[in-house]
């Protein structure tokens, strides 16, 4: 019998590297710890409650429909944590839970599970929440409240609407740009280190860049989409700013406000829903960058990162097909005899 176990017949690949899916996934979760810490630092216990709600929704849904091994690879946990990080601190837990369950259920499990979904599950969950609870998801708590206080009605009973307490909400930098003509915009340093209003994980860009750099250095993340997004947004908004400096914000506030960093580093690099070819990654990133500026400057909404990434997710199969590399030695198109 020992002969049989030594002789294994299987399809390629026959050599397995040390990096497997759970390693990658849990490394991503680890790289999110500083971001999560920053969120807790700025938003207190509310941050933990919202992230826990979203993660529970995602992981429990995955566990209900898949085998235990599928849950242990950590991909559902990433979806949940990322979804929690792009929600406002005052969001009721039950809404975060519903978002996580929808993202994993409709965004991933129905497509066949890990590696086969078209849209980023965390962003799909957030888009669903934005459509279902437009008020709760745009109620941004003020910064500088006592650390241990809840930043909203986090513990609202399921299927009841949350209570909004007057005087505890504030505009985000992007809201200031959009609706108040940029008067009272926080400084770029405040945006970079997170002393502004916004979703839980998006305010402290420095921590997100740190986490991204760690993943890129370990070779676990495709650096092309975020670089393409940052460059495109910087160039596009720089041109607009040069045309009319009073009307359009410069590149720095554009780069460090809203969910651009979180989206570019953690959502646009999802290996499943972004193109696999290097050329495709650049096209993908440039498309997101252009759409983000378009929606932020001329759209009806203050923020467009989520929609831009979802839109380009839909284009990914097409991009993959269009940028398929030529097989070595095969004739180029039109060059056949």
């Amino acid at each position: 019998m020992s002969e049989q176990t030594r002789l294994r017949v299987s399809a390629s690949p026959h050599l397995a590297g040390p990096v497997d899916t759970p390693t990658v996934m849990w490394s991503v979760v680890a790289s999110l710890v500083p971001v999560l810490c920053a969120a807790v630092w700025f938003f207190g216990p509310s941050a933990l409650l919202v992230v826990a709600g979203a993660t529970a929704g995602a992981v429990l849904t995955e566990a209900a429909f898949k085998k235990a091994t599928a849950v242990r690879d950590g991909s559902a946990a990433i979806t949940g944590v990322l979804l929690g990080l792009c929600l406002p601190a005052g969001m009721p837990c039950w809404m975060a839970f519903v978002g996580g369950a929808f993202g994993i259920g409709a965004g991933k499990l129905l497509f066949g599970g890990l590696g086969q979904n078209i849209f980023n599950p965390a962003l799909l969950g957030r888009a669903f929440l934005q459509a279902a609870f437009p008020l709760a998801i745009t109620t941004w708590p003020k910064t500088g409240l006592p650390w241990s206080s809840l930043r909203g009605d986090n513990l609202a009973f399921p299927f009841t609407s949350p209570q909004v307490i007057d005087g505890t909400t504030a505009a985000t930098p992007l809201g200031v740009m959009k609706f108040e003509g940029g008067v009272g915009l926080p400084s770029v340093m405040d945006m970079l280190f997170g002393r502004t209003g916004g979703s839980l994980g998006e305010t402290c860009d420095a921590m997100i860049l740190l986490g991204g750099a760690y993943l890129v250095l370990r070779g676990l993340m495709n650096w092309r989409p975020p670089v393409a997004i940052f460059l495109t947004v910087a160039v596009f908004s720089g041109i607009l700013h040069a045309i009319d400096g009073a009307l359009y914000q410069g590149p720095l506030p554009m780069l460090f406000s809203g969910g651009l960093t979180l989206g570019a580093v953690y959502m646009a690099t999802d290996p499943v829903t972004s193109p696999i070819t290097p050329k495709g990654s650049w096209i993908f990133g440039i498309g997101i960058g252009v759409l983000v500026v378009l929606i932020r400057v001329w759209g009806g909404l203050p923020e467009g990162v989520m929609y831009a990434i979802l839109f380009m997710n839909a284009f990914t199969p097409f991009i993959n097909r269009a940028t398929q590399p030529r097989v070595l030695g095969a004739a180029t198109k039109g060059a056949t005899s």
């Binding site: 499990l109 066949g112 669903f128 929609y307 979802l310 839909a314 199969p317």
Partner: protein, 192 residues
């Protein structure tokens, strides 16, 4: 001129016929299995929409001014008749073009996107040029939606989709997700 560009872009993205106004869904769900057929369907759709826009402008200007209550029935009869005639002419004049577009033309004549275009154009009081820009934008939007859907469907054909969701069920989920993604364009350029 820039007014026409806004109408085009807005019809293509912001109020996309399929993904924002939910018109023409039967073609969107039925003929989006392969990219090649989706492209042809989109081309045929655009063609019929432009034809409709011209016909509607003519009807509104010269025939229906005194009898607005006859609009719906007049639109349906005239559009269907016109498309049938054009189809016959194409079949006779250019068999190649007929093979590319022809089989889809009868499908579209009774499509809600076509009647939707006629009604919206009438309600907004578009001029001839604006109407054509609106039809071209609407057609481009339909083509975009069809091609996106087809490329995604070709991709998920290889996926390990659970038994109960295979086929139309998953197509509806994809359509809903696409529609969620298009919500980001809401209000785009409305101030311009």
């Amino acid at each position: 001129m820039s007014g026409l560009v806004w109408i085009f872009v807005s019809a293509m993205f912001v109020s996309n016929f399929t993904l924002a106004m939910f018109l023409g869904l039967c073609a969107f769900l039925g003929v989006s299995g392969k990219i090649a057929t989706a492209l042809r369907m989109g081309a045929a759709d655009t063609f019929v929409l432009v034809l409709t826009s011209l016909a509607v402008w003519f009807l509104n200007k010269f025939v229906l001014a005194e009898a607005p209550y006859l609009r719906v029935i007049a639109f349906i009869v005239v559009i269907a008749g016109l498309v049938q005639i054009v189809e016959m002419i194409i079949k006779k004049a250019s068999p190649t073009l007929f093979r590319e577009l022809g089989i889809y033309l009868p499908l579209i004549t009774t499509n809600c996107a076509v009647l939707g275009l006629a009604m919206i154009q009438t309600n907004k009081g578009y001029t001839l040029g604006e109407g054509v820009a609106f039809a071209l934008g609407g057609g481009a939007g339909l083509t975009l939606a069809l091609v996106l859907m087809a490329s995604i469907r070709e991709e998920v054909e290889l996926a390990d989709v659970p038994e109960f969701a295979r086929g139309v069920g998953l197509v509806f989920i994809i359509a809903g997700s696409l529609s969620l993604a298009f919500m980001g364009f809401a209000g785009l350029f409305s101030a311009a």
